[in-house]
């Protein structure tokens, strides 16, 4: 831990750090690759929709002594799909199996009769409709759309539109990957899956917002200095929140991993797999995208702003000058300052209020504090 603590300290001071923004192209590439795989998987294999969405067959048996879990195994073997088995009040069983047409249902009925040792004539087979009607699905989509619009508006107000756009991209990225993995693994999509996806939706945004919050804080007075470009500060703010991101992800993933690997894997609880897999993949993707995708994307967008371009020019010029002189960066340089308080909302026409002498910061480099922010106020 002490090593981790020191690591945290060094990350905090900016002594070490991973160049997230600088190496963004690699990560964009990785993400695009994964996303394409996911989309291809989705297109080729399609989603395996559960009985709640597409309906299926229901078999009702007479009183039987076979246990529910045993008949579930039989039913899944006979059909190759997830089965829902319930014991009825009269001792009979109700077995629901997804994605079966009439022809196959007769065959399964025979197999079930053999397995359950009941007369095939006494198994009543019927087709069931989805319990998740179109209406529920449509309303869920509608809700999703409204939420996305609202959240983009909110982020645009609370932060800025670039962050809203980046958060949205990260969100879509996470959901695509999760859905793609579902298609590739071939697990059945149940209401649990959908709910898992919706959880990810909230979590992914949550995670992104935490990183953005730190980014916003650190870039508050960015134009008042000429030491760092936006991308560099974005990098520092990611590194600064890295410990938090790692901790949060670990804490969120541990219980879900427990459900997935121990509950689903070792103890063999089928339905748990469906939910915890979508959660596990989604949470991991959410944590990944808020660091590797969302923030670099914001930096990319930001760097296109004329103000930030100007800043970059100044920073580079200053560095070049410093390098030429062979002196430290702390040589007295007159900083330019943009006197525009809410420039984040208004990125048009930066008003230059002329050079203004600013306190040189001899100590700040020594401590390596990457915070040109409002701490000095």
């Amino acid at each position: 831990m002490s090593k981790l603590g020191t690591l945290g300290a060094r990350l905090h001071r900016g002594e070490i750090g991973y160049d997230f923004v600088g190496k963004r192209k690699i990560w964009y590439g990785v993400s695009i690759l994964i996303t394409i795989t996911a989309i291809v998987g989705l297109a080729v294999r399609g989603l395996n929709m559960g009985i709640e969405f597409q309906g299926g067959a229901v078999f009702t048996t007479e009183k039987t002594s076979i246990s529910v879990s045993q008949s579930e195994t039989y039913a899944e073997e006979a059909s190759g799909h997830d089965a829902i088995v319930q014991k009825l009040g009269n001792g009979g069983l109700r077995i629901q199996i997804a994605g079966i047409d009439t022809g196959k249902s007769d065959q399964i009925k025979q197999e079930l009769a053999k397995d359950l040792k009941v007369d095939a004539e006494k198994i009543n087979a019927d087709l069931v409709g989805p319990s998740w009607g179109d209406q529920i699905a449509n309303k869920a989509w509608q809700g999703l759309a409204i939420f996305m619009v609202l959240v983009v508006i909110y982020l645009a107000i609370a932060f800025e539109w670039r962050m809203a756009a980046a958060a949205l991209v990260a969100l879509i990225h996470d959901i695509t990957i999760t859905v793609g993995i579902y298609a590739l693994v071939g697990f059945e999509v149940t209401p649990g899956t959908v709910i898992g996806l919706l959880t990810i939706l909230g979590y992914s945004l949550y995670d992104t917002v935490v990183v953005f919050d730190s980014l916003k804080e650190q870039t508050k007075d960015i134009t008042k200095q000429t030491r760092w470009t936006y991308s560099e500060i974005a990098d520092r703010s990611i590194n600064g929140t890295l410990v938090r991101s790692i901790n949060t992800t670990v804490v969120a993933l541990l219980p879900v991993g427990g459900l997935l690997f121990i509950g689903g894997g070792v103890l063999g609880a089928g339905m748990l797999n469906d939910i915890s897999l979508s959660l596990f993949v989604g949470l991991a993707a959410g944590a990944y995208s808020s660091i590797f995708i969302a923030t670099p994307l914001v930096a990319d967008l930001k760097e296109r702003e004329p103000q930030m371009k100007a800043l970059r020019k100044r920073v580079l010029a200053k560095r070049a000058a410093a390098a030429a002189k062979g002196e430290s960066l702390e040589a007295p340089v007159v900083d330019e300052r943009y006197d525009e308080d809410d420039r984040e909302d208004d990125d048009a026409t930066p008003a230059v209020v002329g050079p203004r002498a600013q306190r040189a910061q001899p100590s700040s480099r020594g401590r390596g504090r990457g915070r040109p922010s409002g701490k000095r106020r």
């Binding site: 998740w132 949550y206 219980p255």
Partner: protein, 605 residues
């Protein structure tokens, strides 16, 4: 966010703190009285827990996938004259409507699906009032407003003819399938006042009740109507007249058959109960306003009249126009033809009369409803009529859709996961993890208690996805602590001592927590408002845990942190406290210079 006076610490105070790590009396008030906040939330928890035990519901109600429940099979009935009514479209519409009715608030976890071509299965979790649910899903709720052409008391005991002063129109039976005990049950409240008032025109209609529209019937089924339908010549009317004459409303079978299969545009015969509990029969004109013209309906308690619970309906703009026109026409007629009947599933539930056109766009059904009945009826009217009529084919209990071992495996796995989280927190945050674990514990207790309490109050049922959602919520809740802790550690790394670090780190952490929780809550709120069924149930759980997260962080974690920051163990940065400056990588010399040069002030976000 308001600036708290005490959060600003000057450099001088800070130096003092450095020397004297123990709390100073003078500063207590400035840190928001953490002890008091802490006591408050603990009292709240104890009160909630006490409430839970007092109510006797010590476990949350479990959904059908975890606890099983009751399965009702409803079979669509073929009605004469509507041959192809049982088709997939109508069945799906019926499923949607039943889903809304039975899932009212969206947290009950009931399931509705079609089976075969003409059956609908409704699964309701254990602990739901299945009787009520059966009525909710099974009632067709076809509502018509029809003008009354003629009416009289039908069948029953001739001796119990209505007194002249009796009002004509109290209505009771809301459900024709329900049993005859209704007659006695409902008649206990003879003072029921029927009314169909517009909201703007007050109680104009009830005044007209002084006139008695009821023909003082002999009670014999064969008695001739006092007011015969106007056009008595054509055969259809004659047939209706004959039907009316033969109708004996005191017989359940006759009641059930009366007006069966009649189209909305045709006149019909119907039965209804008056305030004495006597059955009255009617000839009713074509429907003028239909249930689809009702925008929404709600149950409310009439505090002024003696009507008790009643159901008010707001019409759509089209419906309001129709209603105004029918009431205007009726007001010019003589009794009983100035009455209109509110017909629900073929039974007259209310037959108020009208003295003038009602243009307010709303109407109400009164009768001696119990609260539950009024609410159910309002619920059914709001979600519309089923396109088909259903009969109950079977009712049976079902076991959990997920085997018991699934839940068990889930719980074991969840517990192992939690244990890992705790180990991780202890390994990384050491002493600080105590605060995190205590906060998680408080959060867990509150979630559990509130869920248990919501079971009986709003029918909240917990299903497996919700349990998984709660497990993810561990992550989101723990994140709030982690954000806070990391802030504090950052402040310590910049050379502050613990107490200023806590006070300075808090506003920043607070902003992050609020902003990110707001996003989560927004997701929950939008999904809850827009969606139906299980998604709504999920949104509810998400919103609840998010709110609790904020509550716990603000009223538990922060005060606890403030208090513990005064303890020597933490303030001096014991190597096991998780706040040891050396372990955090603080370099002592820097601390000194920093302390002198920079006054510490709290930046509000």
């Amino acid at each position: 966010m308001p600036v708290r006076a005490g959060t600003s610490v000057t450099g001088r105070t800070k130096r003092e703190n450095e020397k004297v790590a123990a709390p100073k009396k003078g500063r207590q008030g400035t840190q928001g009285r953490p002890g008091r906040t802490l006591a408050l939330i603990l009292i709240a928890i104890v009160a909630l827990t006490g409430g839970m035990f007092a109510s006797g519901h010590t476990t949350p109600r479990l959904g059908i996938d975890l606890a099983g429940g009751t399965s009702i099979t409803l079979q669509a009935k073929n009605e004469p004259g509507q041959k192809n009514a049982i088709n997939p479209t109508n069945m799906n519409t019926a499923v949607d409507i039943m889903n809304r009715r039975v899932n009212g608030l969206g947290v009950t976890e009931a399931e509705v699906q079609t089976q075969g071509e003409s059956n609908i299965i409704v699964n309701i979790p254990k602990g739901t009032n299945s009787e009520q649910a059966r009525e909710q899903v099974g009632t067709t709720a076809k509502l018509y407003f029809r003008p009354v052409l003629t009416t009289e008391v039908s069948g029953g005991d001739p001796a119990a003819s209505p007194s002249p002063s009796a009002s004509s129109s109290a209505s009771t039976g809301s459900d024709k399938d329900s049993d005859k005990d209704k007659a006695t049950d409902k008649a206990t409240s003879p003072s029921t006042t029927p009314s169909a008032t517009s909201s703007t025109q007050g109680r104009a209609v009830t005044d007209a009740l002084k006139a008695d529209p009821t023909p003082s019937g002999s009670g014999s089924p064969s008695s001739s109507p006092s007011a015969s339908p106007s056009a008595s010549t054509d055969p259809a009317t004659a047939k209706l007249q004959a039907q009316y004459t033969a109708l004996d409303c005191s017989k359940k079978t006759a009641r059930a058959k009366a007006g069966d299969g009649v189209k909305a545009g045709d006149p019909t015969v119907a039965c209804g109960q008056n305030s004495q509990g006597q059955w009255q029969k009617y000839i009713l004109g074509p429907a003028e306003v239909e249930g689809t013209d009702v925008d929404k309906a709600s149950a409310l308690f009439d505090t002024q009249g003696a009507a008790g619970w009643k159901v008010t309906m707001d019409f759509t703009s089209k419906g309001a126009k129709k209603f105004a026109s029918i009431t205007g026409k009726l007001a010019q007629n003589q009794s009983p033809q100035n009455q209109f009947a509110i017909v629900l599933d073929g039974e007259v539930v209310s037959d108020p009369f009208v003295s003038q056109a009602l243009t307010g766009g709303s109407a109400e059904i009164s009768g001696s409803f119990k609260q539950q009945e009024a609410e159910d009826l309002a619920n059914m009217l709001s979600y519309g009529a089923l396109p088909l009529t259903f009969t109950e084919a079977s009712v049976t209990t079902v076991t959990a859709a997920l085997g018991g071992e699934q839940l068990e495996a889930g719980l074991i796995a969840g517990a192992i996961g939690l244990a890992l989280v705790i180990i991780y927190l202890v390994a990384y945050y050491r002493g600080l993890s105590l605060i995190a674990i205590a906060s998680l514990l408080v959060s867990a207790v509150m979630t559990y208690v509130i869920m248990a309490l919501l079971g009986p109050t709003i029918g909240f049922a917990l299903n497996l996805p919700a349990v998984c959602g709660a497990i993810v919520a561990i992550g989101i809740t723990a994140d709030s602590f982690i954000v806070f802790f990391e802030r504090i550690r950052d402040e310590i790394r910049e050379g502050r001592t613990l107490r200023p670090a806590v006070e300075r780190g808090w506003p920043r952490a607070r902003r992050t927590i609020l902003v990110s929780d707001f996003v989560s809550f927004l997701a929950a709120a939008v999904l809850f408002v827009v969606t139906v069924g299980k998604v709504q149930g999920f949104a509810f759980t998400l919103g609840l845990t998010t709110l609790l997260d904020v509550v716990v962080v603000f009223f538990f974690t922060k005060p606890l942190m403030t208090i513990l920051a005064r303890k020597k163990f933490f303030a001096e940065g014991h190597s096991w406290s998780g706040l040891d400056p050396k372990r955090l990588g603080v370099e002592p010399p820097l601390r000194r210079t920093r302390r002198v040069s920079a006054p510490v002030d709290t930046k509000e976000a």
